[in-house]
Symmetry: C2
Subunit: 309 residues, 2 copies
């Protein structure tokens, strides 16, 4: 195999009570990447369609992630990468993660899989470090493993793949405003109340249990964020109306995707997810802000191979 | 049925990363209770062996819990209760919870089970409120449901029974010192660092996952408390040596049971749990403080009926 074409999906991190540790993988919305072997060593980003992003290897998340893999597994040749971005940078649904994860996944396939999908996470995190300053795994993990993932620790890293209830669908509304990760970080308090932390970890633990038992009611009761959402929601126009519209239409829960500005809702069944999308769209129309809407089942596979030769 | 004799087990609450929400049920160590129907309405505590505890119904956790049940399900007769305490009050392994849970469990049986075990939690919590000022469920839930339990919220209450890996054994060392719950509460900080909270909820979520997947390694990696233990451990003589001894001998993890002074360790297999107990005992002997040691599998059933007539 000398060339591989991949679909690299978008993802939702944080997931209400799961701030900084939980994420899930979307389906259908994502980037396409072509990666091929070249005689020239290292990594060249040949082109990026759909977004204005740096082509220099060391300034590109796919480049940096790929180089991290090659450092751990040196070879006598190199790789060139073409990216067709389907995910907008800064949308809060894992644009950088899709590219970083895609690069290491594709290179690993072309090398005959020296690493497991789980082992690839550490390399993809280097791309995230370039994008946000922090080598976090909460988007790259679901993109590489599929479904819901839990990052127990990003130091080792220690990532756990969680089961995905098959009827779970996500509705994602992406308001086309710029929300800098630095601003989203700035509103966070360094200290939080112990009682709020207890509420948050009770909800997260219950959510994890509910994923194992397909308990949609408990998923709904657990999708509550009492720590971050109260601060960050102020940065997203219409947040509370959108959330209310989603819940009223039957969504199990709703929250901020990543550090925003995208919002997600989770529903039982595609039909409800579509209705929730209509309600969120209607609610958001009054803001005269352009937006995109995505309906997606939780993608249990993560990245998939479109073709190879 | 007019009389029932129960075994009401001890329990471990908090469980490292699961502060205020997680608990598990012990086996073999516990109270025995006899509850019988009487013509006299209300509840009489006839005698308590093994501990000096109040007999007045309104000052006794079993009395208060039983009355809470009878308020929700009024009947034209009453109950008398005899308690043989096997659990020392103030030991940190759920002495009040065993009595409160036992009372409501026994009365419910004698009434023909108008309530489920889960529904009984709310009544038993009234006993806990008398004992500690807070109507918490993290001890009564495992005593009533067995195994590991998660208290997502104590307001509704919303309690989830978690699976119990069959090879999981607890070692509990109870140093016979008085540690007031008020002192244990006083050392807690009202505010905690967000980064510590994230570490804690990542560990708790991973621990819940590990209970579903029988992943003993992950149980060990997750049994970490970065929020409460650093403060409370100072109140327990020899804490760090005991913990070190347990881990060195093969325990998966170790921490404070409830608000102390008891310490628990969890091990895979009874043999390891016994060795861990020996190592903890040896480590603690230098302190010249009397102590008790308990080795117990995690009790998947909770309270059980010894006899009835």
């Amino acid at each position: 195999m000398n060339e591989i074409k991949l679909f690299c999906p978008a993802s939702v991190a944080n997931v209400s009570c799961g701030f900084d540790v939980l994420g899930f993988c979307l389906d259908r919305i994502g980037d396409e990447m072509v990666i091929r072997k070249t005689f020239k060593k290292g990594i060249q980003i040949l082109k990026i369609d759909g977004q204005n992003l740096p082509l220099e290897t060391m300034n590109n998340v796919a480049g940096v992630a790929g180089l991290a893999l090659l450092k751990a597994h040196p070879v006598g040749f190199g790789f060139e990468i073409e990216i067709n971005k389907g995910i907008k940078a800064g949308s809060g649904i894992g644009s950088s993660a899709a590219s970083a994860a895609g690069a290491v996944f594709g290179i690993n396939e072309l090398l005959g899989r020296p690493f497991t999908r789980k082992e690839l996470i550490q390399f993809a995190m280097k791309g995230e470090e370039l994008a946000s300053g922090v080598p976090h795994a909460d988007n790259v993990a679901p993109v590489l493993l599929g479904g819901f993932t839990l990052v127990r620790s990003s130091k080792e890293p220690d990532v756990i793949g969680l089961p995905t209830p098959t009827q779970l669908y996500a509705t994602v509304l992406h308001p086309k405003i710029e929300l800098k990760t630095s601003d989203a970080r700035a509103v966070l308090k360094k200290n939080i109340l112990l009682e709020k932390a207890i509420e948050q970890w009770g909800n997260l633990a219950a959510l994890v249990s509910a994923l194992y038992t397909n308990d949609y009611g408990l998923i709904g009761r657990s999708l509550v964020d009492v720590v971050v959402e109260p601060h960050r929601s102020a940065l997203i126009p219409g947040f509370h109306d959108l959330k209310e519209a989603a819940i009223q239409t039957g969504a199990l829960g709703s929250g901020i995707s990543g550090s925003g500005p995208s919002m997600f809702a989770l529903s039982k069944g595609k039909e409800t997810a579509v209705l929730v999308g209509e309600a969120m769209s209607k609610s958001f129309e009054s803001y005269s802000i352009e937006f995109e809407l995505h309906i997606s089942k939780i993608n249990p596979e993560g990245i998939h191979i479109i073709s190879s030769k």
